[in-house]
């Protein structure tokens, strides 16, 4: 499948590389066509990897991954040009972490809104599915990094798109326990997991842990 990755950071690189390993054709998009990190990533990922602008990646991908920093996501998606979005699935992985006032970071959006909802409202042509935002990026594509059972959450308004994303999580990335939280407003609760996640990482000194709902 042809997939567009928006963002060139660790999350975008990790997911992009996993997708290339799985045999997909991946274009990584950023603000400029000659982003150094994107070019390096292309070099180390072979002929099925390419890069370009946000618009190039959005136009290329049948499915899109939002791996930008949460506070830059809306602008990145505007640059991606909504004319490229016609009914495509966007996996929204971003969190609006704001480190500008020091540690611990705060969320720029929470409680009565979420980034997932903002993106869905701003770009109704996208089928936004919030997922993967509640863990470290290595764990996103390799759940076996954490022992035992643990969970991944999904939320979104389009049921068929959500089923497609669940099958991506299960069949491509290896997730066994996927909890469907309902419509995109559940992105609030998913994004509000970040403050305790960051606190836990500081205590455990490793990002290799994950939420599990015991029942």
């Amino acid at each position: 499948m042809e997939i567009g990755i928006l963002g060139t950071g660790m999350v975008g690189q990790t997911i992009g590389s996993k997708l290339v390993q799985l045999g997909h054709i991946v274009k990584m998009g950023s603000r400029t066509a000659n982003n150094e990190k994107a070019i390096d990533w292309v070099k180390s990922n072979g002929p099925n990897a390419s890069c370009g602008t946000f618009e190039d990646a959005a136009s290329f991908g049948e499915i899109l991954f939002n791996c930008t920093a949460g506070n830059a996501s809306i602008n990145a998606l505007k640059l991606a040009n909504e004319n490229n979005f016609n009914g495509k699935i966007l996996l929204d992985i971003a969190n609006t972490l704001d480190f500008s006032k020091g540690m611990p970071p705060m969320l720029s959006v929470c409680n009565d809104d979420s980034l997932g909802e903002q993106i869905q409202r701003t770009f109704p042509q996208l089928k936004v599915i919030k997922t993967l935002n509640t863990m470290n990026c290595k764990l996103m594509v390799d759940p076996s990094l954490v022992n035992g059972d643990h969970d991944i959450f999904v939320s979104g308004n389009d049921l068929a798109a959500k089923e497609k994303v669940k099958s991506i999580l299960a069949d491509w990335f290896g997730w066994k326990s996927i909890i469907d939280l309902g419509d995109i407003s559940a992105a609030r609760g998913m994004e509000m997991l970040l403050p305790i996640w960051i606190r836990l990482m500081g205590i455990f000194k490793t990002p290799n842990f994950n939420f599990k709902i015991a029942r």
Copy 2:
């Protein structure tokens, strides 16, 4: 031990009854000395249970439990009179859930502050330990209601008080896995678990589940 419970709702009643069963002497406090729910609770819990005003309960208890609604907690503690607080431990179990705009509820305080921190700031004579707020009240005093391993969080500034609370959770209520998140500012992350908790309860149709950090 003599214990003061602030609040007469399900949380206060459930914890109060458990403490009486354990042999403690419990006074339940509310806005008025003759609160009907408190009087009914006393009747069904025998001679070691009593009730009175917030001030009566705060003066009576060597240890205090804040089981009021989060948005009423600061006022309840003011009525309890800070002269009764001299160095006492307060287990803060409350959440600032605001249902006034319908479902899902929002938090009145979050992100850059928390109820736990507000209480500690307002009443420096208390040793505030945030705990037990991330689950249903029946589970608070009986972790075996949920299968397998699952976690309870604690945070607070006073290390000795936090150790005392950990022993209360372990020895009185039966908690095996207690995660110490550090100082009281970690109450932000603990209280911000509520939106996803409420969403999960709606999906599972039962409050008998709990967070577990897999690692």
